[in-house]
């Protein structure tokens, strides 16, 4: 494991993530301007979507793909359910539902970092996993809100609904980041290798460099949230937060490892699917939750996913899951 683990730790993207975290720790005023950071994240979604689409155009859809996509959808629906039941005695119903949605969904940047990790280690992976990622972003939002509506208190039930169900589904599936990945995937598919040749310098050559800059910013932001954690009032203590933020991805990954072995997925695809299950959303889901469930406290669900699970997956999770797949295969 050591060699692999280290090969992750000395890769520039990870090092820049840690540099960002250190910048916050030592109170440097280093900061990527907000609008640029937002654009870098759009770029990553655009690039990974396009690359996935081109890969799909090059390899036909088959039974393998269907198997993978179904597993992805299954996990995206299953995870929020058991996460909700695990958490609902520890925190308010709203917080538990929002956290469940967060963990049922995925983190595109964790996925993207994992693809660079696999590329750097020479492990092949299939383009359809980008589609799997896009598919997994939204279902958990619906399921989390359904669970909330079933278990909410009588008093909460009297509050007027903020979003009609149709509006909610639209909002979940058409969130900017979901839409951009899906759209880029389709465009990559349509324009295929010819389109790829045209925009490959932007989409492929610059990818890891831009990832470094974005992770630098994410390191800054994640560490700030980790520091803010101490001062926020929540159902959970800071230690409880950190424990859950590590336990949940490990649990989700463990189940996904089992499924991947059962289904006999190829190495790279297995690792990516596990990472999708283990990762938690800090873009699409929090945005949807602020609209549909403002009672839920973002310093619970956003802090868990952004300040604990995201760094954990980047620094420890990815090589660990890879190791597990190799060991069980």
């Amino acid at each position: 494991m050591d060699a692999l683990f280290l090969s992750n730790i000395t890769s520039p993207p990870l090092l820049f993530f840690m540099l960002g975290a250190v910048a916050t720790l030592v109170r440097s005023d280093l900061e990527i301007p907000e609008q640029v950071a937002k654009f870098l994240s759009l770029y990553l979604l655009f690039a990974i979507g396009f690359k996935g689409g081109v890969a799909l155009a090059e390899s036909p859809l088959d039974f393998e793909v269907a198997k993978g996509l179904l597993t992805a959808l299954l996990m995206a629906s299953l995870v929020p359910v058991y996460v909700f039941y695990l958490l609902r005695r520890k925190m308010s119903t709203a917080d538990a539902a929002a956290t469940a949605a967060t963990y049922g969904s995925i983190s595109a940047v964790t996925f993207v970092t994992c693809t660079s990790y696999l590329d750097a280690n020479g492990v092949a992976w299939s383009g359809y996993l980008v589609a799997a990622m896009a598919l997994m972003e939204s279902p958990a939002i619906i399921i989390g809100l359904l669970l909330y509506r079933i278990y909410q208190s009588k008093e909460e039930r009297d509050q007027p609904e903020l979003m009609a169900p149709g509006e909610l589904i639209r909002e979940s599936f058409l969130n900017g980041s979901v839409f951009l990945i899906m759209g880029s995937l389709i465009i990559g598919w349509i324009s295929g290798p010819v389109g790829k040749a045209q925009i490959s310098p932007l989409v492929n050559d610059l990818f890891i460099g831009v990832l470094c800059l974005f992770l630098l910013d994410m390191g800054i932001v994640a560490m700030r949230r980790l520091q803010d954690m101490r001062s926020a009032e929540r159902g959970l203590s800071s230690l409880g937060m950190v424990s859950w933020g590590i336990a949940l991805p490990l649990l989700n990954a463990a189940i996904a490892v089992g499924l991947a072995v059962l289904l006999d997925l190829p190495e790279g695809d297995a690792v990516l699917l596990i990472v999708l299950c283990a990762s938690a959303s800090y873009i699409a889901v929090p945005a949807a939750m602020r609209l549909a469930l403002p009672e839920a406290n973002p310093s619970v669900y956003l802090a868990l996913s952004l300040a604990v699970t995201f760094p954990f997956n980047l620094l420890v999770g990815i090589p660990l899951y890879h190791q597990a797949v190799n060991w069980l295969a």
């Binding site: 803010d228 001062s231 873009i283 403002p294």
Partner: protein, 98 residues
């Protein structure tokens, strides 16, 4: 110049569009918004630093010279703020006619 109320609302960025729609429904004579604000309040520090906009605020300013509409705006906004947090201030001002 005509006397009017100056209503100032701070709310989370993700709710900005809902607020704009609400103001249109309530017949606000117009409004101005400033994105990318940060702040601190009951629900902690909002640093306006996340690429996702989840920790960013938005400021709305509405000049309103109709007492009834002002009341409606204040009441409509109040019920929105109750659930999602934020603040609303009302003060007196003179509106320069042009």
């Amino acid at each position: 110049m005509k006397p009017c109320k100056r209503i100032e609302i701070v709310i989370e960025q993700p709710l900005a569009q809902r607020m704009a729609k609400l103001l249109a429904t309530l017949n606000a004579p117009g409004y101005t918004f400033i994105d990318h604000a940060g702040g601190s309040g009951d629900r902690g520090l909002r640093r306006a630093d996340e690429p996702t906009g989840t920790s960013t605020n938005c400021v709305f300013v509405i000049a309103c010279d109709d007492a009834e509409i002002t009341d409606q705006i204040v009441n409509g906004v109040r019920s929105m703020l109750t659930r999602s947090g934020g603040i609303c201030l009302v003060s007196d001002a003179q509106w320069v006619r042009h």
